[in-house]
Subunit: 179 residues, 2 copies
DNA sequence: TAATTGTCTATACACACTGTATAACGAAAT
DNA sequence: ATTTCGTTATACAGTGTGTATAGACAATTA
């Protein structure tokens, strides 16, 4: 069922494709079954995101970064998220969009995004002599977002190049806030 | 009618609020009249965007920047767009979202966004000894986007502070590409 | 084994939005 | 005085939503 949802979200059709009706058809079940398994469409959206994140190893990040050098950790974080956004470039912008258009979806998805913010905050927290840590975290959050990735993923630019552009911006931001 | 559209988009309700049905009710006309004046919902969306942009003076930008010093021009561009995104912070993310979810809306809205990219390209074009102008333009495009602004507009951060954070990132990017 | 529980299907209902169509109305231009 | 244009009122078929009910089926429990 989650698979059916991913398939519909990955397909080019956008909103109309991702209806409970279409999902039920795709999954080969009744609409009633969908409502049975998921409280709301938004909950289903969250479940799909988690499945993708799980598969992408995003749940293992906190442990990985717990005792690493902050600069190396940041470099790895950029690499991991860039790869993740790149791999799911067709789906992620739609998640973001749903979050902007639906209050409940926003809550569920921003909860997921906050995991990334927490991770970045932990990394920044380990850095020495940072001017405005809260501001830096927000800037890093914006630079490592799915939205920023998407904005750079144009003109057929390679995933490698996009990651490099993001990393440069991230490195500059840290440099600037350090002093 | 465009006013009715703006009102519905500004209101917190999101997608469902912005239906042809609701729009007609809000504007005090029949649905038939809406279909009469606008070919599609997407065309209406474009018209609303243009009305906002017009009002915000975004159509006058090319002339303003035509013969200015590139660095000052860039600083002004950041100020203008930051102010614009900030003023319409409730509406802009929804435009972006519609663009991600609907093929036709994407075409109409990315056409508008390309105006900004063109402006930035003109400014970068006037700079001397820039390494990869195309990449720089894309980075500046991402940094001056409604999406990037929204990502920094959290924790009650002031418009002034957001603009400053964006400007720092922009200045760093230019610096890095200059050499 | 028999009963219970949970999940599924099939089906129905009332509601909302879409896109199109048609007939009739009124105001403005010719 | 008549034509033209944009409007209203209304209807229709199609699609999606959310809820509800009754029956089929399988797994768990007594």
């Amino acid at each position: 069922m989650i698979e059916a949802g991913r398939k519909l979200l990955t397909g080019g059709k956008g909103v109309p494709a991702f209806s409970i009706d279409a999902l039920a058809r795709e999954a080969g079940v009744t609409r009633a079954t969908v409502y049975n398994q998921f409280e709301t469409k938004q909950a289903l959206l969250g479940a799909i995101f988690d499945a993708i994140a799980q598969e992408g190893g995003l749940f293992d990040l906190p442990q990985i970064f717990s005792e690493s050098d902050p600069d190396k950790a940041l470099r790895r974080a950029v690499a991991i998220f860039a790869k993740f956004w790149g791999t799911h470039a067709q789906v992620m912008p739609k998640f973001v969009a749903f979050g902007q258009l639906d209050e409940e979806a926003r809550a569920i998805l921003s909860e997921r995004a906050e995991r990334r913010r927490k991770l970045l905050a932990a990394i920044v927290g380990q850095m020495k002599s940072v001017k405005s840590p809260a501001d830096l975290v927000d800037v890093l959050f914006a630079l490592t977002s799915a939205e920023f990735y998407r904005l750079l993923a144009v003109h057929g630019r390679s995933a490698r190049t996009i990651e490099e552009l993001i990393w440069q911006a991230v490195a500059d931001a840290v440099e600037r806030f350090r002093t």
